[in-house]
């Protein structure tokens, strides 16, 4: 809808232009069409355009305008068709342009004026104007309008990567393009870049905007005061403009929060906002009666210098969004203040939304909720869905996961209603954030311990986010959680209790301790071969499936690494290639970032990444204070962008650690110690690995080595934590643990081992809470006892087993290892006593009944 509105405006202007340029029948027709279009009589306008088409067959501009008019008439129920036509138009006009390329200049003037007028709903306007002009002149400019419109459609379809690559091409050749169109290209590019979390790109475009268009708003006034002065002058046009803008902005803001919520990062949401604002604004205009007049007003205003103030506000808000994205909270706050000082008549919902996002990022969730509520517009269902989603995100941060899930499912419901609305509009597509919401839902359920439904959500979201490593990690975590909860079709489950069977009769009566984990993965794996599944088939959770997911996550991560390496090498070389690759990379990394933010958020303490952020922010702010000019702002942006890159890297690293640790665990579960060993080794080779994961890496490696019958090497890994031969360091500190406890990563899980085989029982992962350091130390002892037991050094084994037991008197593994050592020593009485003392022991029903009369 937005497109149409804007296009209408453009048409009008274009028509005007066309009529001015030429006197032919076609131009009259064009004029008529544009007038009709302006007054929203689309079908009449379409009739005229068809006449025109009759006269000028295959004229791309006319075709284009026909398309736009149609589009406005019935809504865009088939974006595919629109894209097709647009591509055709683009191709044709390119051909034509090649054939005759000289009359361009006159056109461009017309076009520019039209464009400037239609700003708010920019893209379609441009198209229409282009088409009108094309009736008269043929020039290369046409193609750029059509291309821009393609990008607009793609943007609506949330095909950001595609849109980005198209816009990127335009942006590279922006110089010859008419200024207004260029402005639209820049704005759209900004939106797309922010939507795909490409901070570097966005910063680049922002700087370009200020450089190239700064003049025009420089005229209006660099400072707020200047703006004020301008306002009175342009009183009448400005209000109209501002009102339209406002309408659009609230919508957009709502969208934005939704997005952000979806991603849990408020920053993200902002990115989306702008773009949606453009389109949504258009839509809202259409809906509101009396808007036509405003459009007119807009045009006139645009023709004059109105746009400057508006543009200034817009750019300012983009800046805030960018800073939000890069998590430079303080700078964002300052810029937001500036933006709020820019006078305007309408409501300031976008600004409010951004503020809410800021508060969200700062952790003052209550304020965020209040602001969000002030900024919302509940009448539109798309917005409502986003609003609910945003609330869900906030409650997620508050660790009210069930409430969050409630809001998410509300949001999902609203979007599903939205989707079933007919006819579908293009804005429906852009407003439908179901994948994100579903992802958020999945996260809540994962945290609440419902792996199956969570996995369903994640897999659904995976249709869109298939290239985000975090998604794959989450699915794998679902599998592991399901394993822990005993939902998988395995013969046994790692459990916290000791299972004892009594078999045999009379003097052959024996106590048999269940060999807990040795069977894992047998029954299910063969059955579980995945045939070629349809894209959205839900796969059953299983451990081999978890392995595949983890491999995918690692694959994506390593492809990031390769790309960033490449980017780093030839950063200076030609923009195009680098940028495209870096763009992709950024995109994916952003997603992961979001997710990781989720984690951090849930942790409650923003941890390392946040800490670094704050530091960097401090420095950035310090810089900013030195000089308040544009230069300093640019410096702030630049530095926060580079900080942001670091954040992305850190977050990817965190994902990688988790994925590798999970992978090692999964391979152990599948009895594939060689692979487990290599995963654990690569975990240990990571730079800046957290101590906790280092601990896990050591434990997993040691267990794998035990499985491979190499207890000596295993002992080496374990003895890292032993210093004077007896006592052990805490493998990690309480702080390390606290950092991660909130994370609820299910990956720390015990890989159990049977009593009989007794390789290493690794860690007992209790619930969602991580082991305390003391317990971890106990586990080191348990493992040492086991490995010495395997080597036959019973004395050592006994020492460690005793230590472990004294540290963890009720831990199943500690008891089992002590019992095992006792048995090795032939001390079955002691073993039995220990077993009896263990309150966790569970006697299972067996076929034996006690026979008393012998």
């Amino acid at each position: 809808m937005d497109l149409r509105d804007s296009s209408i405006d453009g048409v009008e202007e274009d028509v005007g232009v066309g009529s001015g340029g030429e006197m032919s029948v076609t131009s009259t027709l064009g004029k008529e069409a544009s007038l009709l279009f302006q007054s929203r009589k689309y079908s009449e306008s379409l009739d005229v355009l068809n006449q025109l088409l009759h006269k000028k067959k295959d004229d791309p501009k006319v075709l284009h305008n026909v398309l736009v008019a149609q589009y406005f008439r019935d809504g865009c129920s088939d974006p595919r068709m629109v894209l097709e036509v647009l591509n055709k138009v683009k191709k044709r006009s390119e051909d034509l342009a090649r054939a005759s390329g000289e009359q361009v200049e006159t056109l461009s003037n017309h076009v520019s004026s039209a464009i400037s007028g239609s700003k708010g709903s920019s893209t379609t306007v441009n198209q229409l104007s282009a088409s009108d002009t094309s009736t008269v002149y043929i020039d290369e400019y046409d193609a750029s309008v059509a291309t821009l419109n393609i990008a607009v459609v793609l943007f609506h379809l949330q095909e950001y990567a595609n849109a980005l690559s198209i816009l990127e091409q335009l942006y590279q050749n922006i110089e010859p393009i008419d200024e207004t169109i260029a402005l639209y290209i820049c704005l759209l590019l900004l939106d797309v870049a922010l939507a795909s979390h490409d901070a570097r790109r966005a910063a680049h475009v922002l700087q370009y905007l200020e450089k190239s268009f700064g003049v025009c708003y420089g005229e209006n006034g660099n400072t707020a005061q200047l703006h004020h002065s301008h306002q009175p002058v342009k009183t009448s046009p400005i209000p109209s403009n501002s009102s339209t803008l406002d309408v659009s902005t609230p919508d957009s803001s709502q969208n934005a929060p939704e997005d952000s919520l979806v991603r849990t990062l408020s920053d993200e949401a902002l990115d989306y906002e702008l773009f949606p604002t453009l389109e949504i604004g258009g839509a809202s205009l259409v809906k509101t009666p009396g808007l036509a007049s405003t459009n007119d007003l807009l045009k006139t205003a645009l023709n004059q210098s109105f746009s400057a103030l508006d543009l200034k506000l817009k750019v300012q808000l983009y800046k805030v969004r960018l800073l939000n994205l890069t998590r430079n909270v303080l700078a964002a706050k300052r810029e937001l203040k500036l933006a709020m000082n820019i006078p305007r008549s309408g409501d300031s919902s976008l600004a409010l939304f951004l503020k809410s996002q800021l508060e969200y990022a700062r952790g003052s969730h209550r304020k965020a909720i209040k602001l969000l509520m002030n900024s919302r517009n509940r009448t539109e269902s798309g917005m409502l869905s986003m609003f609910n989603n945003d609330l869900g995100c906030i409650y997620h941060q508050l660790k009210k996961h069930h409430t969050a899930a409630l809001f998410f499912s509300k949001a999902l419901k609203i979007s599903s209603e939205l989707r079933s609305e007919k006819p579908r509009k293009l804005s429906t597509f852009s407003q439908d954030k179901s994948p994100i919401i579903v992802y958020n839902c999945g996260l809540q359920y994962l945290i609440c311990g419902r792996p199956i439904i969570a996995a369903r959500c994640f897999q659904k979201a995976g249709l869109l986010f298939y290239n985000r490593p975090l998604l794959w990690l989450r699915i794998a975590e679902c599998c592991l959680l399901a394993l822990e909860k005993g939902f998988l079709e395995l013969t046994s489950v790692p459990c916290k209790e000791v299972r004892a069977h009594v078999v045999g009769k009379g003097k052959w009566r024996q106590l048999v301790l269940e060999d807990g984990e040795s069977r894992i993965g047998h029954s299910d794996t063969t059955k579980n071969s995945d045939g070629l599944l349809d894209g959205d088939d839900q796969q059953k959770l299983s451990i081999p499936f978890a392995r595949q997911c983890l491999l995918n996550a690692l694959h994506i991560l390593s492809s990031y690494e390769r790309k960033s390496l490449k980017v780093g090498e030839d950063e200076s070389s030609s923009l195009k290639e680098d940028e495209s690759s870096s763009l992709k990379e950024d995109e994916s990394s952003h997603m992961s970032l979001e997710d990781s933010n989720h984690r951090n958020m849930s942790v409650g303490d923003s941890k390392a990444s946040n800490m670094t952020l704050e530091c960097s922010q401090a420095s950035v702010n310090g810089d900013a204070k030195d000089a308040k000019g544009v230069a300093s702002l640019n410096a702030t942006i630049a530095s926060s962008v580079s900080v942001y890159d670091d954040i992305c890297r850190t977050e990817n690293l965190m994902i990688k650690q988790a994925a590798l640790a999970d992978l090692a665990y999964v391979e152990l579960t599948l009895e594939n110690p060689l692979k487990a060993l290599s995963a654990a080794k690569s975990l240990l080779e990571l730079q800046d690995c957290s101590r906790l994961y280092i601990f896990l890496g050591h434990m997993y490696a040691a267990e794998a080595l035990c499985c491979l019958n190499r207890p000596k090497e295993a002992a080496e890994y374990l003895s890292n934590y032993i210093f004077d031969g007896i006592s052990a360091d805490f493998p990690y500190s309480e702080e390390d643990r606290e950092k991660w406890t909130g994370e609820k990563v299910v990956d720390e899980r015990t890989s159990g081992d049977s009593v009989a085989v007794m390789s290493e029982p690794v860690e007992d992962y209790q619930g969602t809470v991580l082991l305390k350091p003391a317990e971890a130390r106990g586990i080191v002892f348990v493992n040492l006892a086991a490995s010495f037991g395997m080597q036959g050094d019973l004395e050592q084994a006994k020492t460690y087993a005793t230590k472990a037991l004294s540290l963890m008197p009720i831990n199943r593994r500690a008891i089992l290892s002590a019992v095992y050592v006792d048995l090795l020593l032939g001390n079955s009485q002691d073993a039995l006593t220990k077993l009896k003392r263990c309150s966790r022991i569970r006697f299972l029903n067996s076929a034996v009944t006690f026979d008393n009369s012998s």
Partner: protein
Amino acid sequence: MIPFFSVVGKHIRYLIHDLNDSNYDSLIHDFFQIADYGSKGSILLLQTFLDHLYFHGGDVQNKELKLDCLCTIFRYLLNRPNFSTVLCESLRDRNTTQEFIGALSKDLCLDVLEKIAVFIALSDSEDPGMKTAGKRLCIVQIEELCSSPSHFDSNEHIQKIIMYLSQTEGVAKLLDSFMQLLSLSQLKQKTPFMLAPLLSDDMHDTNSLRNLDLFYECSENDFDTILAELEKDMSMADTMKELGYNCTVDASHCREMLSLFLPLTEVTLARLLSTIARTHTGLDDVQNTYSTFCDAIGSDLSVDPTWLSSWNVDVLLDSIKHLAPDTNWVHVMENMDHEGFYIPSREAFSVFMSFYASACGELFPLHSICGSVWKNTEGQLSFLRYAVSAPAEIFTFAHTSRKLVYDDNIHDQKLAHGPENQAWFCLDLLDILCQLAEMGHASSVRLMLEYPLKHCPEVLLVGIAHITTAFNLLQYEVVSTILPMVIRDGSRSGVILQLWHANRNLLLRGFMDIHSSDPENLNRILSLCLDSKIFPPVLDTTPFSFSIKLAALASGKEQWNLEKWLSDNLSTYKDTFFEECLKFLKDTPSGVSQDVPASPFQNSGAVRNVSSEISSIFFKVILPFQCSPVLQSQAGQNISRQLFEEMKRLHVASMHVDPRLQNGGAPDSSTSDGYPDDIEAEANSYFHQMFSGQLTIETMVDSLGHFKESTENRCHLV
């Protein structure tokens, strides 16, 4: 475990050697079983096979057949997730070359994809030679694959190959052509979910509207199904817990809150109720959460500034009744077994029960909590813990359907029947407790039993005797605690009879335990049995070692015809019984002397006399059996020669001892002449060990024999 595996290895080698046409199928089955025993079994199997066929040298019989078998097993292993470990470990230290691996894959008739899988697996090896061999072969195979594409039947293979190629250096070209191959074969269908991230880079352009395709056109309904599932899965109870007490601040709020989760099913309500009980105090300050929540859901109700410190149960109940008037509260109770149910305190319990009481006037459905063991055993225990000790007006077991009929003649003991709520008369409760105890909650159950053990032990004893479980863990504990008390206190013999009717095995076991802990108790046991008139069946059902003693004692008191009993049993049970008699006779002196230190002024002489009398009865009965071997064998009796000899010796010895005993008739002589305590204790310990099954009877006999032959006096005494 290592010896165990070497045994298995030998077994496998034998099986392989033995493989032929006729046993092929059964052996394959065996091999699969071995392979199913974890990675160790698989490694051993494959290793042994390869050794046999390739590394052993010399001729191999039935080579074709064996290769065929190996091929089957190999394929079986190939589809396992741990194949790479299995393969690499079985080839470890085997000096494998590229040629060998190539030949092997040829011998096994693997197809291209299988070969690739094998070679990729080799790349996990820690042996660099094997690794490069695998790599070279693998690349050749993939090239071949690219030139003549075949069908992929598993995404996992594709994933593996792509991963492998992208991790290997210098094969970028191959990766590209493989991707191309994939895109050709995959284009017809949608990209499989699993492969999406791997393929997306290359397929992106061709499939530019992926989002649109996948999201908006193909799977619309799918979203709705997920949504439905989500809504079903939403937890009202947890949400309310998160939002805090103010949800119930007044009826309209509460109703609005609840109506977010319609319909209110019994399951939902069960969860809600348990949450309310569990969190009736102590929730954090969440007032703000709730008020913001009200704003967020657009509730125009102004939130009361008052701030509840607990749930307003009445408001909640009213709202529930309003929204779900037809709720069946019995069903609600039946749904209490869910994750998260836990009663943390007495107050929580009374909140729970008062809620139930005001929601539903009926008696509490006991079957819901003691009808069966819950999945959430902790929750069940937590409920029972407070239920058993609750006053009758809050909770009572009086209406249980399985009530213990405890007929106690002595009415003034009524007060001792435990709490008014009659918990310990509820057999279902005891049943559940016994089961829970065996499921790892013994310590909590013991805590619960403390009260009845103290206040109404007999009720508990009789009640618990009605329960049979797999291990009877709790039952034995209770019996061993209470029965001695009963036996000491002769006034409660009625209990014995009830026990006897309820569960005679349990009673007898209790008797034996008591006896073994203190043999003097035998007298009391005897008199109880006689009182209750259950003496003959007791004799018939206890183990001989016990029954012989009991019979001897009874005979000593002239309550029993030992001679007849002995000969009856001897003719029925023969050797076994004979052995026991032998043991008894050997043991008797010590058994007698035990009485002495305990009661030095009792007529220990009489006891001895009795015992010697009894011994003589024994010999009288037994020896004739020995004397007519021909008759024995005809009668099918086969008392072994050895036993027989022993008995004879014993007889002689006892003749020897008896005079000594009789001669030294002074009361204190037994202490001086008798057996020192330590020896006695040792003897007892042997007996005890045997009794509890820790020593087998054979060993016992052996060691007894050993003692006898020993020259040391001490051993003789023992």
